[in-house]
Amino acid sequence: MGKFIRVDMTSKEVKIGECPEKYAGLAGRGLTSSFVADEVKPTCHPLGKNNKLIFAPGFLTGTSAANSGRLSCGAKSPLTGGIKESNTGGTFSQKMAKMGIKAIVFEGIPAEDKYFVVKVTMNGVTIDEAPAETVGMGNYDAIKILQQKYGEKVGVAIIGPAGEMRLSAANISFADRESNIRSAGRGGLGAVMGSKKIKAVVIDDTGAPGVTIANPEAFKSAAKRFAKALTTHPVCQGLGRYGTDVLVNILNEAGGLPTENFRRGRNEWANNIGGETMTATIEARGGKPTHGCHAGCVIQCSQHYVDKKGKYITGGFEYETIWALGANAKINDLDIIAYADREFDEAGVDSIDCAVAVGLAMESGIIPWGDGKAALELIKEIRKGTPLGRILGCGADAVGRIYGLSRVPVVKGQAIPAYDPRAVKGEGLTYATTAMGADHTAGYAVATNILKVGGFVDPLKKEGQVELSRNLQIATAAVDSTGMCLFIAFAILDIPDGFNALVDMINAQYGLSLTGDDVAALGKSILKAERGFNQRAGFTNAADRLPEFFEEECPPHNVTWEFTGEEIDEVMNF
């Protein structure tokens, strides 16, 4: 059934038991969200003793299934005040799964004013004092020190200085195979880990038995079909070659690339920061244009972005970060954006929320629009812990409140990412209604077996968008439980056997006979658990609304956000 580990940071007691029966049929986001809904007091202070942080690999993590190495992290969010699942690559998840660990829960708060490292091995779990030099250190060097101490190949989950300061946009960083950084970025879970005085969790899978497969032949066959669905699809080539940054030019052309703090949906310099330019730059400088965030990834949408001398600056250089600085804050310089992305990772903050916050710093006049050098210096303030740095590290909502702004693109306190909701209306409904706060990854997969709308969706019109957003969120919650990267969504959408193969792999691994309808039911139950938590925490439907300024027209299409409250509320009416 898998081990369920509880680490009590108050007493330093560790309990390693069998996974409770009620969680046996859950994994990934399904498990983290159900657990938080069951065990975390909804009205608790997110940085207080009653919050709990949980890590859980997905159903298929640790197997040979392509793209199955993602990890779900859950807790009550200090950014939104609601439930949070934040998802990451890296090596941690696959090690957990191979060690037979269903989940690790961190609870309580130590009395001591010092940081700890939680070490997980096949022999058990120990809690050490964190190496003093890692405290206050940037994440890249701190990971190196921890891997020198605990083993070159250990998985590392770590908070940076922002997590130590318990800033509400602090993330949890995870080492990848090259000891670079992947992030459970959104929602401030790094602050929760920091409140528990956990500097890092290291995991050593030496001696791990590996994942047990109930029906190995059937699994192998389904995994082969699934990998084929991924690798034969054009998206695999597009993402691999250009990364997620390929979306800059597409959204710009669609008039949905928010520019100058969401004043318009298109700009003239988009191509300078787009995926085509990024890849050409990396290739010309001898960097790595393709890279996987975890072992077994066949899409390889990540990259190593390098400087003019070919030295690594950053990886996992995503569209949303590049958009927030390059279009929304008008910084027409991919190199400066790369250094900013690096600094976000060093400090350990969400590069979406804090990059949107940079745009708000420009909106408020702290620095000029488009001034990349000033923006980079401002971002460095986060790690230094200056008052302004701490404000920026608490994300867009904090900057908006403290500088008296009304044009603040957040929902439930979380920054709206890179798709203007007026020009991509289905995305807007997901931003409004997901329990996570504005999150583009909350609506990412389409399961056509439960989709009730057909034909082409007009992104500028309301028709069909409620059903589409609902379907996207249901399917995504289910996919988030598999340990699969969300980019498998295209295989599910376009290749019927891709979806069947996904279900067949789960069935073969666990000896089950799930159907596509069961997967949809799982997605629905996860969304209901998450929404139930938020309701008990005090959220009402009034929280499911976009900021007022989206009533303004957005050029070039001059469209507005025109959904009524009643229409928005239909998204979660199932």
């Binding site: 034909g455 082409f456 969706v457």
Partner: protein
Amino acid sequence: MSSIIELRAFMDLADLFRERNWPSPLEVDIRGEMTGAQLLAMLDIRPEQVEVVFVNGRAFTPPTAVLTGGDRVALVPPGVPGPYRVLLGFKKLD
């Protein structure tokens, strides 16, 4: 009235533009009105290389895209990731 359109291309179609020494945007004289499919034929671009033709920011399949002078047009190959092929109207849902 002008019969010139302004044409852009993304992803590997941008490489095609570079190989042919075409600037981006490329000004193309369509001599009246034509469909996206006709434009591709005129430019010697294979139909399977293009999933969507943007016309003034709206996505169409190549045969249904109607181009007139003054339009801003962009060619998008298959391979746009995420749910955006659905959300932006690229993909017909059955």
